[in-house]
């Protein structure tokens, strides 16, 4: 069963702010989604290699030669706050 705590945990991992009413509302929603997907567990996949990628492509890589980067002002253009060519972000508290 998906509990309110599970919803709060997933919300925290995703940096989504939910209030108490949201937690109550989303717990059964998530539960019904998971129950639906649960059906997949009926398949025996013990002999199946996990899928690394859905496309049949392999070994797509580029040559190690430099290409032009963005100009500093372009790189910072959509940042809400900058200082001396840096992105300026709120203090980091672990």
């Amino acid at each position: 069963m998906i509990t309110r705590d599970d919803v709060a945990y997933v919300a925290r991992l995703s940096r989504v702010q939910l209030d108490d009413a949201d937690l109550d509302r989303f717990a059964p929603h998530l539960q019904s989604i998971l129950s639906y997907v649960e059906k997949l567990n009926e398949l025996d996949v013990s002999a199946v290699e996990p899928t690394a990628h859905v496309l049949p492509l392999r070994n797509v890589a580029g040559v190690d030669d430099a290409a032009p980067s963005l100009a500093n002002e372009d790189a910072l253009r959509s940042a809400p706050r900058t200082s001396d060519g840096f992105f300026h972000v709120p203090p980091v508290i672990e």
Binding site: H53, A61, A66, S83, D84, G85
Partner: protein, 483 residues
Amino acid sequence: MAAFETVIGLEVHLQLNTRTKMFCRCRNHFGDAPNTNVCPVCLGMPGSLPVINETAVRYARQAGLMLNCAVAQFSKFDRKNYFYPDLPKAYQISQYDLPLCGKGHIDVEMDGGTRRFGITRVHLEEDAGKLVHDGHGGGSLVDLNRSGTPLLEIVSEPDMRSPDEAHAYLVTLKQLMSYLDISDCNMEEGSLRCDANVSVRPAGQAAFGTKVEIKNMNSFKAVQKALAYEVRRQIAAIEAGQTIVQETRLFDANSEKTVSMRTKEQAHDYRYFPDPDLVPMTFTAAEIETLKAQLPERPAVRRERFAAQYGISAYDAGVLTAEKPLADYFEAAISAGMSGKAAANWIINNLMAELNAAHRSITDCPITPAHLAELGALIEGNVISGNIGKQIFPEMFNTGKAPEEIVNEKGLVQITDSAEIDAWVNEAIARNPDVIESLKAGKGKAAGKLVGAVMQMSKGKANPALVNERIRHILIETHGLDA
């Protein structure tokens, strides 16, 4: 007091010295103005797509082969999810269950013999950006030039049993990686970083004790000191009846102690999953064999070969093979005609001192191997004496001129004309009458004073063997001594 056994495992991160980043073609370069080597990919802009750097992948596989790892034939990249301002995508592209290289080992020479330490895995990932915390008016400044640069993670088995073994492992690992020239391997500059896991357990106990992770060490010595402190701390805690808490501790270089990071106790939940933007990599057994065949000679193998092939001491061979460029220089001098012993002596006794004094590395040495070999030939051919060779060596180093050019310019060609030398010998005897008296009194060593006087008069240019011979001749013939 019960005896304790220490268990150490190390996690090393190497910045690869590719020209460009791991997943975009921005320059992988340290020290540029902030946010100038950035593009939509390494800034984590929506809609941008990563492209694997094939050179970084090759470097990772070469590193694995050098560490005797099983190199994967199938490998993929995964996303490791977490939020931090130096990680613009909110996930790091790393490798989870299918790393490029699996189990391996390295053999490390210790005082008591060779120790073999297991390698758990080697994988490739991207580095994060850099945070400058003392931002103006609070907050942090973010530079994303390092964001997306290739990082190789090398994880050891918990096989080390002392801080000394951990130190020796790091020295050997760095030497092996330096031989591949895939990283600057400079811990002070951060191109090699090391985190350590350490625990203690009562001797004879099979289960591991609770491990503590130590971070923030910026030299191999610091790793050694941090581990030594941590081992003492853990043993003291256990003996005082306390339990060790699984935690991360930071090493403080000033107090030489480790301190708890005191972070909120929350398990990380990285939710790894295969990166849908990158397709898997496959390698055939033949490709892996080819790569293996192209590896440089390992330092330990090269050291033994040097001693055997060139007749130099094991110690000298060790010094010469400590770094690949130095070993290459030595062999280049030999290819240019120098004898192994002469090359070893000049490099170890003279060249390395000049390099150290000038804070230069062998790769940026003003004396070419050909010039060193030419110097050896001038001495060997009696054109100059060994002493003159030593005299002109600093000038060769400072000017980069060929030794023959300096010898000609300064008129330093050795004097082998016995008539010229005889004149100096006679003058030396005339100036030092006491020498003859001493020799007559049976003090044979007094003749040395004459040699010194002649060498001085010739400004060091007289052939020393010839000077000795002429002194002896004149003392016998002219002064009736049987010296």
